[in-house]
Symmetry: C2
Subunit: 142 residues, 2 copies
Amino acid sequence: MHVNQTAQYALRAMLHLAALPKGSPARARDLSRATGIPPAYLSKIMRRLVTGGLLRARKGHGGGFALARRPESIRLRDVLGAVGGELERDLCIFGNGRCDASAPCPLHHSWSELNDAFHSWARRTTLADMKTGRLRRRAGRR
Amino acid sequence: MHVNQTAQYALRAMLHLAALPKGSPARARDLSRATGIPPAYLSKIMRRLVTGGLLRARKGHGGGFALARRPESIRLRDVLGAVGGELERDLCIFGNGRCDASAPCPLHHSWSELNDAFHSWARRTTLADMKTGRLRRRAGRR
DNA sequence: CGCTCACCGGACAGTCAAGTCCATTTCCGG
DNA sequence: CCGGAAATGGACTTGACTGTCCGGTGAGCG
């Protein structure tokens, strides 16, 4: 169970932005200080989030970064996807190219269950949930 | 959801060995051909599994690798642990140094649930389960 | 207009997992 | 005892991830 550092950084930055009063932008420098992310690297990450449509950036005086959408509509999977990884589900824990319900590896079923749990969680949880601390309960059991 | 390549290789190799008649060793070269793992790299992995006490190695004519214990007593977590990773649970998905039940990050609870599910699965599942295809049901729901 | 502020974006460096190569050691069979 | 078969282990390469540096670009303000 592991999320790479870039993804961790992205989540920290997004959380910080979500906590700000709506519309007020934060400068990369301030974000860096607040989150402990190396400033130069943070810039790279922020760009990916902008490109991904999750953030809006404004240059010059009074500029900075702000959420492009309401926190309720920004899912964890959007953030993880924007910074590039962590979402391609391992179809097979053995790394077999061909492994699905019709030609399963010996662990396919139970491994898929875990995968589903993770993806469903990332799809279900939004920035707003992180803000409030309240988390959506799972809609139903599989 | 992701297990690194080395871990995938280790699982493939162990599965192959578990399928063999008990006690008959397999050569690295044959294992490599059977599993598609690069031979030189497979050797490295096998050594880690030997060092970890999961395999026994014999050199020379008629040598090779064989399980050091019964398949029922070799857990997935043993294999993953022996090849070095995948088991250190991310204490915090944000990468915060301090994050536990007493000082949780906004996602601590739900993230821990996923982590627990994974670790419990890796502790519960053995090589024997992989062989038979039968999988132990989870002891209880959380 | 012109200055400053903040993001933009490319070039570059360090680290680690993944993988290769080869000499060495150890063992078995004849 | 000898030759080959097999694991062992160190040195090396490669590429992705992480991180730094710095010049460029565009926006706002006086």
